[in-house]
Structures are given as structure tokens and as C-alpha cells.
């Protein structure tokens, strides 16, 4: 048993009467030969590591080795805890937690790639926001990771998940799409709604280029993770409201692949274009090179 497309995934879920997360778990059992509890334990270990990254990031105001990021999760956390946030508690908390994770990543701290390190903030951000705001159980959060991985599994095999191969749409785009689907499933959506949320989120980020200043996973990556969480919640809301993506998810993924193939090398994680080549981007790079030599 396996699935190669979102279409196959939803058909399989319907046939087996399983959620997307449960389906991933079944496929993993069959392919790896590991038993169910062991696989759940492995995923739970990842969830715990994510939690540590969030916690250390929210409290650690220190800068990254580059000196160009760090300290913003502390600011965001204070702002939100003072009740000033406009986007509502779900999105506001997700923003704080994703910022914390991505800052931990920039400090070369331990994180979990979801699906990549550059996009590691989004999924923990939305999951721990659900935990904080409606008490989602750890067991359910682990299942949410299986949901997200099923969606990422299809995306990665049909398109790409690295910025060097397909631009930021492949990283933050994929992670946001996976997060949207995971939220939809944890909030009771059907497999069709899960896949639909994935399509809606990914469509919003098609064409996004990978243009890291000085080649660091910091500017603009960290804040793109943060804003990705709000797109994930919006896409999940749309889908749970019964609003459908006119373009089916598999076709959106195919479009992402084609756009990535047409993207010039300067905009695929080479730091030779986009924000990396702005006046300020270049100045930051020069400052870092001076420091390193």
C-alpha cells in the first residue's frame, strides 16, 4: 500500500475509512516493517524536540552567530501576552512559536526539519498554538505530524521541498501547505478538506523565490515562517468553511514543480538575486564577510 498523489491518498482514506494521518501511519508500518507503537514513539520524539526548540526560542533573546537575527520571538511573545495582537490568539501564538523555532535554527540549535530546516518553524508553530488555545492532546499533535508528513510525502515526491531546487515556494510553501492540512484534520476536516486546505495554502505561495541575504537561513526566512502560519490558518478556515480550491491539489503541486523548473538559478538559494541583492542585503553580506576573514 502506498500513495503517489493527493487523489490516491483521499481515495485510500475513503476505502480504508482512515484519516490522512492514520493512513500515513499504516503505510509507514507496511514499508518499514516497524510496529505501530515504535513509529508513534519516533514521531513523539520529534514533537518533544520541537517543543524544546519553541521553549528555548521564546526565552532566548540572544543573536544568531551572524548577528543579523535573534531576539524577535521574545518581543513577539511579550506583545501577544500583553493582549495587543490583532490576528487572534491562534495565529498570534503560532507566530510567536514559529519565530522561536526558526531563531533556534539560526543559532545552530537542535530543531526538526519539517520538511526542511529553513521551514522548520511553521508546523511546530501551528501545532503548539492549537495545544495552547484548545488543549489539543499530545497524542493528537503526534497524529497531526503524521497528517503533515503524508501531505509532504506527496509534495516531495511529485515536486520538490528544497529552496535550491524549487525556490521558497518549495520550502515555506510546502510547510505552510502541510500545516494547513494538519490544522484541518485536527479540527475534524475530512480527507478531502485536508487536501483542499493544502491546495489553498500552496496556491498562495506559488512563485515565491529563495533569496536569503548572505546565504543565511535568516533574512527573510524566519519571518516568512512566521507569516506562513497565518496563511496556514486562513487556508484551513477556508477549507473547513466548505470553500474549494478550483484547481485540484495535485495540479497545484505540478504547477509548483514547473514554476520551480523555470526559476532562474539566481533565485534558488544562491543568494545572487532578490532580497539578497538589495542595497541592504549586500551591505549585511559585506559586513559578515569582513567579520569572517
Amino acid at each position: 500500500m502506498d500513495f503517489r498523489s493527493m487523489n490516491e491518498l483521499t481515495e485510500l482514506c475513503t476505502r480504508e475509512r482512515k484519516t490522512v494521518g492514520e493512513m500515513m501511519l499504516m503505510v509507514e508500518m507496511e514499508k518499514s516493517g516497524r510496529d505501530k507503537e515504535m513509529i508513534i514513539d519516533m514521531m513523539a520524539e520529534r514533537l518533544i524536540k520541537m517543543k524544546h526548540a519553541v521553549e528555548s526560542g521564546v526565552e532566548d533573546g540572544s543573536p544568531a552567530p551572524s548577528g543579523i537575527s535573534g531576539g524577535d520571538a521574545v518581543k513577539m511573545s511579550e506583545y501577544v501576552n500583553n493582549g495587543k495582537g490583532l490576528s487572534g490568539p491562534y495565529i498570534n501564538d503560532a507566530m510567536t512559536f514559529s519565530m522561536a523555532t526558526s531563531e533556534t535554527n539560526a543559532r545552530m540549535g537542535v530543531i526538526v526539519a519539517t520538511p526542511t530546516a529553513g521551514a522548520a518553524g511553521i508546523i511546530p508553530g501551528v501545532l503548539f498554538s492549537l495545544r495552547k488555545n484548545d488543549g489539543t492532546s499530545y497524542r493528537d499533535l503526534v497524529m497531526g505530524l503524521f497528517t503533515a508528513s503524508a501531505l509532504g510525502y506527496v509534495i516531495a515526491n511529485r515536486s520538490f521541498i528544497s529552496g535550491a531546487a524549487g525556490g521558497c515556494q518549495a520550502e515555506v510553501g510546502s510547510a505552510t501547505a502541510m500545516a494547513a492540512g494538519a490544522i484541518a484534520e485536527l479540527k475534524g476536516g475530512t480527507p478531502e478538506q485536508v487536501v483542499n486546505a493544502t491546495a489553498l495554502a500552496m496556491k498562495s505561495l506559488l512563485g515565491l523565490v529563495c533569496d536569503p541575504v548572505a546565504g543565511l537561513v535568516e533574512v527573510p526566512c524566519i519571518k516568512r515562517n512566521v507569516i506562513g502560519t497565518s496563511i496556514a490558518f486562513s487556508a484551513a478556515d477556508l477549507s473547513l468553511a466548505g470553500i474549494e480550491s478550483r484547481i485540484p491539489c495535485d495540479e497545484v503541486i505540478e504547477a509548483m514543480y514547473k514554476i520551480g523548473k523555470e526559476m532562474p538559478r539566481t533565485l534558488r538559494e544562491t543568494a545572487l538575486g532578490g532580497l539578497a541583492m538589495t542595497a541592504t542585503g549586500m551591505k549585511l553580506k559585506d559586513r559578515l564577510l569582513c567579520r569572517n576573514t
Partner: protein, 172 residues
Amino acid sequence: MEYQSCFDIIGPIMVGPSSSHTAGVVSIGKFVYEMLGGSPKKADITFYDSFSETYQGHGTDKALLGGLLGMNTDDTRIRYAVELTNRYGLHYEFKFENRCPYYDHPNTTVVRARRADLIVKVGGVSLGGGLSKIFMIDDEKVDIRLSTDDDFSKIAAKYRSNTFYEAMLEGV
């Protein structure tokens, strides 16, 4: 289908900042370490394309050296790998090229490493999300998928040359 498991997508557990430019590269270095049965004394490393443009920012150099010293993707010492090469007696040289002539992907590296009489040349590609592939060993094409949950020592054992075992018998 390069991605075979949910843990290829949610994972690896790793030190930042990049799954393709840090974690996947640790794995390539670690594979070389396993091929040699320990840390090399000399390594000539070529970074291609995206690796050559952004290796400093992503710690790709630290990641590869960390792997060559036997570290795993979640080893917090990777940050200090450059300094640690002294203690392990690893001499290395980096070269930077545009396009990899052996494999069409922006995240590629070729490592030629020596440990006593053993020499191995390994070509690796980091596919994204921490998943890597070894596409060349000693100028022969191979296709070895490396996920951080794999037992690299077991995989490397299948590709080690007779020279390796001769050298082991002589007590390298």
C-alpha cells in the same frame, strides 16, 4: 519516489540552519567516515553550485567536516567542527566549482579522503529535507539513499573495497 518514509518529511532531528546545506551534508561526510572506518587524515572537498555560493552562511563546511569526524546530524559539536579538525588531526582543503560534472543538482559535493593507505572518492547530493544520496564511489556510479535513521556503517560495508579490509587487517 526518493522520499520513502514519513520521517524523511518530519525529520531529521538536526542542528540548524539548513536541512539540505547542513544536515544532508553531515550524512555525506559521515558516509565517507564509515567508508574509511574512521576519521580521515586528509580530505579534498569540492562544493558545487549552491553549496559553493552559500556554504558559509549555512555552515555547510562545518557540516561536512563534522560528518568526516563521525558526528551525526543532531550533534551540537558541529558548530565547532572547524576547530575540532585540529584535535582529530584532519587536514582539509575546500574547492569551489560552478556546476557538478557528475550529477545534475545544485547541492552536490565530491570528497576525496585518505586515512593511512586507504583512499576513497565519494560524490554526494543533498536532495532536501535532510535526505542525501551517494551517486559516485571511486568514479563508479552508484545510487545509495541516505536517511538519517539508516545505519550508515552497514550501508558502507557493502561498498568497501578489498583494500579496506586488507588495511584493517594490518591495523590502520
